[in-house]
Amino acid sequence: MTSTSVEASGKTVDEAVEKALENLEEARENVEVEVLDEQPEEARVRVTLRDTYARKARQVVADLLLKMGILAQVYIRKADDPVMIDIGGENLGLLIGWRGETLRAFQTVVNLILNEGRSDRRRLVVDVEHYRNRREETVKEMALRLAERVRRTGERLVMDPMQAYERRIVHITLEKEPGVKTESHGEEPHRRVAILPDGVSATRTAVDRPPPASQPLTRQGAAYGDRGAYGDRGGYGDRPRYGDRPRFGDRPRFGEQRQPDPPGQPDSPGQPDSLGQPAEGAEPEGPEPQG
């Protein structure tokens, strides 16, 4: 990458540097200053942009997009801790992929290229049209909506498998919500968050009683309805994604009898949690979920 430099003059060195920085729209810490000439009432400087990590990152992102044949603008949103690069343009859904899958891969590749041969690894975040913020909002709203349903019905809900970062958002969002608590179960990449009424442990019921294979996964069905704004990105229409996805018809219909867990009660073996009703307490992750 070639470095940009600008020459400027002023009455003092400081004034000349100021002018050059204005010209470059750059902060003082990102440039090298070279004094070309200094006389009373007249100073000339050359200001050169330092090759910062953020600038290199922008260049790598731009190069990669060019070679992918994707037309877009690349900006530095944040210059440090961590560096954030924004990609803007139209029809960039392709670059985001289903639930950000492609964006994540793109970010991995950019990080690989940038960190090659460096001992001080730094994290770089790539975003497309503020997808990350939008997704975060979607996950928060979904978590709050499902928590409300759990409080109302006293039944636990299991969300779709999510990224570690997204699961974290759910845990944090619901941390202070009264009447519910959250747990993660299953192995990556199928790890899911369960939202349950406070005082009920999903773990022990699951360990005691793995669900028969033929059993409809009732609770999951409810959660699957909430696939957020990008629910259609799966590309398989109504088909089950992991082979265990319940159809809409598996959900309890209106007026159908449910067996709610009494919310707010301490955990006890006699509780009608799921031991008595295997269909209601079905634990989709298998016999040994982890907290």
Binding site: L64, K67, I70, L94, T102, A105, F106, V109, L112
Partner: protein, 78 residues
């Protein structure tokens, strides 16, 4: 069918210790096209990554580029 050797070559050469030994060739098939990459033995691990993390990411990026042109491309290390 577009040429993806430039994209694949750029990524791989940027992450290996011996970029001079990287060779990228396109093999056209009936439905799927392959981009075959040969590289120095010592760089294979780096390109594949832990649990295939790196090669999976590279494939996803190439797939996205190909999707735009309605192409199907597989990246393979030979």
């Amino acid at each position: 069918m577009y040429d993806y050797t430039d994209l694949v070559g750029y990524i791989i050469k940027s992450i290996v210790a011996k970029p001079d030994e990287v060779k990228v060739t396109m093999v056209e098939g009936e439905r799927t096209n392959r981009v075959e990459v040969s590289l120095a033995n010592e760089d294979v691990g780096k390109v594949i990554g832990r649990g295939g993390r790196n090669i999976d990411a590279i494939r996803a990026v190439v797939r996205a580029a190909a999707l735009k042109n309605h192409d199907r491309v597989m990246v393979e290390i030979v």
